[in-house]
């Protein structure tokens, strides 16, 4: 276990060190202390390593993550795991806005709540939230799965493409072209597996599924009001 104290080490040095690790490195377990809300901690990782951060992180923690496992023992600022490609990011506390923004693969787990725009523009990643998500979550969500064990704020899934949304609690309002859909056995299967991988206990049958009504896919003047 390699420990790095961010009160002693610059973010730049930490990131460069992590980037320079060879694919077959044996320096696989990293423990970061004193993050104190600093930004861009552990961004652009690309390797089979685990990075555990004790404390609250600022913006873009684990941004564009590939392969690595990043655990935040605290809260995360805006854009955690933004554009993640693969691997696993877990936030034990809450996450701020734009969690998993444009994320393309891998699994992002937030055990607490997120604020607005969770999964905005997501492009294939899986996001599982133990608590609730704020407004405009899954805005323009293109691909992937968003699972919310709590409630969702207003305009959920506004302008959604093909991403799948599963919400157990209440939905304040649905966004343009987002509708409730039937929860079929194959969806229960996906949901069960996601909750399992996230290590979050919840009954899949208590969830509802939401997705695109596909009415905005090609412009039709009769749907102009939706814009």
């Amino acid at each position: 276990m390699i420990e790095v104290d961010l009160d002693q080490t610059e973010i730049r040095d930490l990131n460069e060190r992590l980037h320079r690790l060879p694919p077959d490195t044996n320096e696989r377990a990293w423990h970061i202390v004193n993050p104190k809300g600093r930004h861009a901690i552990g961004v652009g990782l690309d390797g089979p390593i685990t990075v555990t951060i004790d404390g609250h992180v600022g913006f873009y923690c684990a941004g564009m993550n590939k392969q690595a496992e990043v655990v935040v023992n605290g809260h995360a600022g805006p854009g955690v795991a933004e554009n993640m490609m693969s691997g696993f990011v877990r936030v034990r506390g809450n996450a701020s806005q734009s969690a998993g923004a444009s994320a393309r693969g891998g699994l992002l787990v937030i055990e607490g709540d997120t604020s607005s725009r969770c999964g905005i523009s997501m492009k294939g990643a899986d996001i599982v939230v133990g608590g609730s998500v704020g407004h405009m979550s899954a805005f323009m969500a293109q691909r992937g799965n968003l699972v919310v064990c709590g409630d969702a704020g207003r305009s959920l899934g506004d302008s959604i493409y093909e991403a799948r949304l599963f919400v157990r609690g209440s939905v304040e309002s649905l966004g343009a072209d987002c509708v409730e859909k039937e929860l079929r056995p194959e969806h229960l299967d996906i949901l069960t597996k996601l909750l399992d991988r996230a290590g979050i206990r919840a009954n899949p049958r208590e969830f509802k599924r939401y997705g695109s009504a596909r009415k905005l896919y090609n412009f039709n003047v009769d749907h102009a009001a939706a814009y």
Partner: protein, 440 residues
Amino acid sequence: MTVDPRLLRTSHSFPPQVIQEIHRAADQGVYEIRGFGAKRKLPTFDDLVLLGASISRYPLEGYRERCDTNVVLGTRFAKKPIELKIPITIAGMSFGALGAHAKEAIGRAATAMGTSSTTGDGGMTQEERLSSKTLVYQVLPSRYGLNPDDLRRADAIEVVVGQGAKPGGGGMLLGQKITERVAGMRDLPVGIDQRSACRHPDWTGPDDLTIKIQELREITDWEKPIYVKVGATRVTYDVALAVKAGADVIVVDGMQGGTAATQDVFIEHAGIPTLPAVRLAVESLKELDMHRKVQLIVSGGIRSGADVAKALALGADAVAIGVATLIALGCNRPVYVEDYHKIGTEPGYCHHCHTGRCPVGVTTQDPELEQRLPPEQGARMLKNYLTTMTLELQTLARACGKSHVLNLEPEDLAALTVEAAAMAQVPLAGTNWIPGKNGY
């Protein structure tokens, strides 16, 4: 009964084109979408002239006496600034808007000329990375195709806040151009009309942009120059804010800038022309003592070496060409005329990039149409055009006595109209008059 033609009066406010547009809107219930840039008349670089050598100023001989054209971009923070042989770069245009052949042709020509090309709102293609020696990678609100590997493979990163054709608007690509390949790169269903965000998903405002730029630098270990691109609107503030946010290079795209598809009202009625935009950008940089320290690339209706010379004289470090690039590749060439007719236009008038039926194979995904633009041939044509522009630039610079094109200055210019004098803050030819200066 024949109509006496003298009785036919055109309305200035409702000319035939406007009448046609209102009829179309009544039929379709939606705004008109098209490609190309602003077509309306507005002040351009044509309204400025260069003051060649005279008795007080001596010219340089062509060929024997050097007139250098190289420029370095990204000297502020990046470990690996970009060195270009000519101050003319290829602007960002997406794979999706353009076909793969066009992107490859652009890459090859840029490489041959020692300059850069830029990806667009669809991500980086392999063809482009392999063919272009210096490739600038755009990070746009949509984030289509964005990934850290391409960030690291790029030579520079361009954070796009907006473009001249539609400042405040997002990308657009209609269903007919969302083929399997394009859809795959953008993570979209095939054949749908792409809706795009106009704001970035994870930052808003220059204070958050500062943090975003830091993140991009961290991911790429501070190697690459970071550009920030804006459409020309509140240029003075935008340039100052981009500097404060940490940009290495600023790209300002005037309203003449092109697009493959957006609303006509956006193209024609938003943004300011490139002419005042250049001057405003340079002034803003000077006020922060950042002129030449943060480099300025200017785009939007650059057409010839004369335009480049004037942009550089006003203080830009380089220019980018978009529409002109496509025209060099064949856009609006009078060939395959029946195919122009099929999409309802004629060569010389075509702005139908959005249809995906480009008769010369440039802005299309159709494999048959793409055959009309073999990459090597396209590369040769574009290289010829870039060479011509460079020679024109050098001709004018030498005539002004400059051994390096970046030594062109505003005092080498005069304006032919009052508007141009005011916009460029260059005296009206034959006078000392700059509107707005010294109480005029």
